[in-house]
Symmetry: C2
Subunit: 480 residues, 2 copies
Amino acid sequence: MSKGLDHETLNENVKNVQYAVRGELYLRASELQKEGKKIIFTNVGNPHALGQKPLSFPRQVVALCQAPFLLDDPNVGLVFPADAIARAKHYLSLTSGGLGAYSDSRGLPGIRKEVAEFIERRDGYPSDPELIFLTDGASKGVMQMLNTMIRGEKDGILVPVPQYPLYSAAIALCGGSLVPYYLEESANWGLDVNNLRQSVAQARSNGITVKAMVIINPGNPTGQCLSIEDLQELLRFCSREKLVLLADEVYQQNVYQDERPFISSRKVLMDMGTPISKDVQLVSFHTVSKGYWGECGQRGGYFEMTNIPAESVDEIYKVASISLSPNVPGQIFLGLMVNPPKPGDISYQKFVQESKTILESLRKRAHIMTNGFNSCRNVVCNFTEGAMYSFPQIRLPPKAIEVAKMAGKVPDVYYCLKLLEATGISTVPGSGFGQKEGVFHLRTTILPAEEDMPAIMDSFKKFNDAFMEQYEDQRGYSRM
Amino acid sequence: MSKGLDHETLNENVKNVQYAVRGELYLRASELQKEGKKIIFTNVGNPHALGQKPLSFPRQVVALCQAPFLLDDPNVGLVFPADAIARAKHYLSLTSGGLGAYSDSRGLPGIRKEVAEFIERRDGYPSDPELIFLTDGASKGVMQMLNTMIRGEKDGILVPVPQYPLYSAAIALCGGSLVPYYLEESANWGLDVNNLRQSVAQARSNGITVKAMVIINPGNPTGQCLSIEDLQELLRFCSREKLVLLADEVYQQNVYQDERPFISSRKVLMDMGTPISKDVQLVSFHTVSKGYWGECGQRGGYFEMTNIPAESVDEIYKVASISLSPNVPGQIFLGLMVNPPKPGDISYQKFVQESKTILESLRKRAHIMTNGFNSCRNVVCNFTEGAMYSFPQIRLPPKAIEVAKMAGKVPDVYYCLKLLEATGISTVPGSGFGQKEGVFHLRTTILPAEEDMPAIMDSFKKFNDAFMEQYEDQRGYSRM
């Protein structure tokens, strides 16, 4: 008789989950690090781990909120600016007992109001704080929405391929079906509504009820920014097909070109007017982990619901209540992100300077990386228009594929492991995100420090070109 | 054709969840508060919301971790003690990028090591940091363990009745079956292994696979502390029946009598020796939200696994990875809780003084509250030996039950709503925790400020005694 936590008795959905971002490559990299090898972790979008400094003002405010006794200390002005002190008092006044008290399970009402005001400024349409829920990072919100919708394997969610594996993992955990739609690599990872239609039709012919569609804009891992036209077209598609649109917009502040600025799904929907603006069920996600904040470890996020029936919102609130409340410091970070220092504030210049430095450097790094990849043998890479990733296609020679299979590895996993062992660069194989059959990629973040970037790309090129030469060479096979 | 977030199409498990702690009473209390009524929120164990001050030392350390630039500030010593500065440097050295970087999904290795050392000091047996996972509060850990085990409605979890509704809610959300075992109110909410046996036998006769047993020690809502003998007996029971023991030990620092100090399930298990010490699968939970810390809003917790197969631990790690990492500031709080200032440290005296003040006051409040309830008409209440709650039985007269039913309310919900409206005291009806048929209770925390406690109990008594008089009186029925 087996016991409750014996492996063979576990929830099959748990066993079916795959999560590549912290999968085989990450585990191997951690091992090598323990053995003393220098590892460049580019597998997770974790900017502070790669040396990005936190913005000063939000850290000052949250530090003061953690230490409210300092607010009465006559020396506090020696180490904190007056506007940080004032802002800490403001946020503490929104809590009922400081950072140590549970908030409402949807988050502090005062901060949800600041989020609504931010959305209104951004989109030009009012937003209702009662339809904004704060979460421990955006991932938790995504998981909650999927769990709210998925009843079983006959419920499907349209997910872009390549995708951020949060989606495949959470859908598997909920026991639902992932319905893939392919992004067009040759069209800079653009959307093709014909693909979407075919995916839905095929899923339905298999008895799947397609309930929602995920978009990631700017794209992860693919880095593209969706145009207004693309967004309009997919909103019409969601309306026609009765799909909830789950809009992962966590990279909305990470845009590295000027032709296609970020535009929110909600703004496009509202601009389209009735009836569609009152029809499409939309949930959009945002976070303090990305942008120029990169405050991943604080776990602050929100989702905003549009056109969701009140009784469904009540169910979502009820389930959020089981975990009592999102962490309160993360909520304060979110408040600060949507309501940063204003012109005239003591900390304004410094805040703007710090933010610009980070964003401009990310833009430069996006260029260095794309150019670096495109200079390599058998590597082609779309430009990173937004987000934090580069997703080059690695054209593996048949012999390399054969060798990988003999080693019992998926070919891109094999390539990435060899890269890791040769250079210490820890990436994620494209197979973790999904890709067309026989096509291989890897994902790397653009986050290594700007000054380290040329050396990293040189090291990559040296490894890659030798790898390619080895397997393209007729004699390569015998030399391995 | 309905849409993906229309209520009728939602996951039935979500709709089946009930969560009383933030249910009808809480919502009504929030409404009344908005209308300007003074509400005493005793529905949630949320100490800081009721005026408990945070401990200074941990807040100083976390504030410094949030503002690492202060560590180089020549004035930092004017506002922070040297040992807090040293400790902040220590914790920052355990991170890979400060509080803004994701940690390993199990939490920072250095803090898991501190937790393991704490467990070893507490229990006298070594603990393995690799089997300790840090979480965003204990609830998240409980939910993850239940989700790991439950495959469907034929999987059952033994849960005490009355119970903290996290368990019923999470089991419903996972689509499993709650198998109740009744605690004996007349034996100060003690365990009766005969009850347990009957519950398991009955569940099995209904085709249920009973996978695990939950205990809450000290008890929530019931306040009892389990004896060594009780723990031994239930561990033998778990061994015989192949049940995982889920030991909710979040109130281990909240004990208000000296006869039955807290003893961990793990220590009792290890003391029993082989074969049982290597047999029972045990997961124990702890948090920074309770104790004399009460840092609920920070969302810091951990679970420790004993005798769980390695391949199951790997699955749990994989699923934890989907959410990337628990919030890092909450992890630091946990480190500080398990590794507080030591004799000789600059902050030691102050820390001990603050902790003792809180615990001694909680002990007094437990007495005031129990005595207060027992002085009321038709109210009987076991003494709160531990945890943070009082769970008096309210003996409702038949007429009151009748009136409640006419109003479409469960009788104890009716009573608690009337109490709320008359006095502003926001409690949770016993039906939210489970109770025997025809027996009624309410749960209140012992957290209102000590100086407010006599007035609150007077106000309760005045309401209760009038309520009882109204419905016990022959003419009462016509007077409503």
